[in-house]
């Protein structure tokens, strides 16, 4: 029986899958790359950013890390390119650009 | 071998305690070592509407779970039911009908559609009023049923009921005495015709 989310691959058999597909660990979305759903990506102009932090809470994923009261660089591993942060920024510091992967 | 099971059908009105009386009789028989069933026939609960309850009492466990259609005894808790319910339906002639009434058995027999078995009356309401100050006819009714049917040995029945009253009315000893008087009078005053 597999118990960790990382072991729940598309190859898992009915004998090995967890009962009810329950996941016996927390925060498993950390391992899921949602960044590859993106067609546009946000780019931050650090000169325009006033660290007002209005962008961070509107991010529906975990793409805007905040540490010691300041936001950091985008975590593109999670960013789906929704553009809400760009809409929320009052200083036009975030621009959505075509994502060239 | 004679079927040793005794089947009883109770007729009352919703709220009069016929179901409780059937359960009390099952209790009394249980305490003398019998196998018992006590169950009401359920429908919408309506105060005053005719209701039926049943007992099976036997030496062996009875597996049948149907209603009773050919009872050995019928008990009528409210005599006004005699005119609207066919209380003697299926009643065995070697059995008896026991009616809560101040009238004589002879006076009630003509209402019973030619029933040829024993007709018994007990004025349970009056006994209850005199002994308990309230119309709780169950105790004298139960005593009359035991006396007429012999399903429980009378002395064991009285002893058992006394214990039950002392337990139930531990805080009110005068109620125990009243109930015991009502019980004895029920056995003594039942008229068999």
């Amino acid at each position: 029986m597999s118990w960790q989310a990382s072991e729940m691959t598309p190859e898992v058999t009915w004998r090995e899958i967890t009962p009810g597909c329950a996941i016996f660990e927390g925060g498993t979305s950390v391992a899921v790359e949602t960044g590859d759903w993106r067609t546009k990506k946000p780019v931050l102009d650090w000169d325009k950013c006033r660290q007002c932090l209005l962008c961070a809470p509107v991010c529906p994923d975990m793409s805007i890390p905040v540490k010691d009261g300041k936001r950091g660089e985008f975590q593109y591993f999670f960013c789906k390119g929704c553009g809400i942060c760009a809409e929320a920024c009052p200083f036009h510091a975030i621009t959505m650009v075509r994502d060239e992967k | 071998m004679k079927n040793e099971m005794i089947e009883i059908r109770w007729h009352g009105r919703g709220g009069q305690g016929a179901k409780t009386a059937a359960l009390l009789l099952a209790d009394a028989a249980f305490h003398t070592g019998k196998f018992v069933q006590g169950f009401p026939e359920y429908g919408p609960e309506r105060m005053g509407a005719p209701i039926t309850a049943y007992n099976r009492i036997s030496e062996r466990r009875c597996t049948v779970h149907s209603n009773i259609y050919e009872p050995d005894y019928v008990v009528v808790v409210d005599e006004t039911l005699l005119s609207c319910v066919e209380v003697t339906a299926g009643l065995k002639p070697e059995g008896a009908i026991i009616i809560n009434s101040g009238k004589t058995p002879q006076a009630l027999r003509e209402l019973l559609k030619g029933y040829t078995g024993r007709v018994c009356t007990i004025d349970a309401g009056r006994i209850s009023e005199e002994e308990l100050g309230k119309n709780f006819p169950n105790t004298p009714m139960l005593a009359a049923v035991v006396k007429v049917s012999g399903i429980v040995e009378p002395d064991a029945f009285v002893t058992n009921m006394e214990q039950s009253f002392r337990h139930k009315f531990a805080a009110k000893p005068q109620v125990v005495e009243g109930n015991l008087h009502a019980l004895r009078r029920g056995m003594e005053e039942v008229r068999v015709g």
């Binding site: 004998r15 597909c21 | 018992v36 149907s66 209603n67």
Partner: protein
Amino acid sequence: MGIRERLSGNEAIAYAMKQIDPDVMGAFPITPSTEIPQYFSSYVDNGEVNTEFIAVESEHSALSTCIGAQAAGARAVSATSSCGLIYMAEMLYVAASNRLPITLAVSCRALSGPININNDHSDAMSVRDCGWLMLFAETNQEAYDNYLQAMRIGEAVGLPIMICQDGFITSHAIENIELVEDDKVKAFVGEYTPQHTLLKNPMAVGPYATPVYYIESKRQQAQAMIDAKRVVRAVADEFARMTGRQYDLLESYRMEDAERAIVIMGSSAGTAKQAVDELRELGEKVGLIKIRCFRPFPAEELAQALRNTLAFGVMDKADSFNAHCGPIYAETAAALYAQGVGAPKGISYIYGLGGRDVRVESIKRVFSDLEEISRTGETGETYRYLDVRE
């Protein structure tokens, strides 16, 4: 030696719950199961149990409460009937597929309409494919005994379990019963020690499963039900060692050389036993198979029990409205076909709906039909209603 008592079926269930002292009860009242939470709440109020009693606003919420509690690692129980049970339907599936061994007492009652409060099996049969284990009782004693075994079975296979009895017929009837001493009950039922719970370690219950995973999950759930047959028997054997009362998936009654048999479930099995006894007195080779464990369905055992009969009737206290047979008949026919048993002729009887009284005479009429079928070889209509006015 047990304790001699006389209790109604509902009292017996509430008493078993008291002896087990579950962690949580989520309940909403409905006739005829209302007395179970009613009596049990008195035990809670008197401090006789440590259970958290959660009064909710619906049966859907009652079972949701149990699901949350069981996932958190608690033993959760509820009780219901009729419309209340089918109002739980969505959550019944959730409980089973999340593999939460909740225990639900069901005092079976007809479904509306016409509105009716009396007994049949329409409620339980309508949720028979939700993935719950289901035991049915003939008597108050069996309701009590099944309840004491319920958690052992459910927890061993990780499935919820319904303990069904017939509303009013046993739920409200006083009968003799032998109770098991408190300490023995405690020792028999034991502690609930799930490997994973919401309160122990981080855990996600009931996640989304894409088509890549869903059917694997269901196949595993199906295996739990298959495995449950062995567990139901093992727990019954252990229970028998404690009480002397032996149970199995089904009970064969006077089937030794029976040429005609009925398959039946619930309180009417007792009435039918009397009919069998009376017909045996007359030399008729008749017998009866009572289904105690409906889920998992004892398919092989039932087929073996019926294989040497000439004709059988399957008694269903619920109709499937499929224009050809009742639910237990469908299961029985499938079981026979799978075992390659084709000789006995079977009739599906729908009986006892909405509290229609089932008498010894009713069952004798069935045996009379079966006698004619086995004599003439003509089955006639195989989908019949018993004791219905023509």
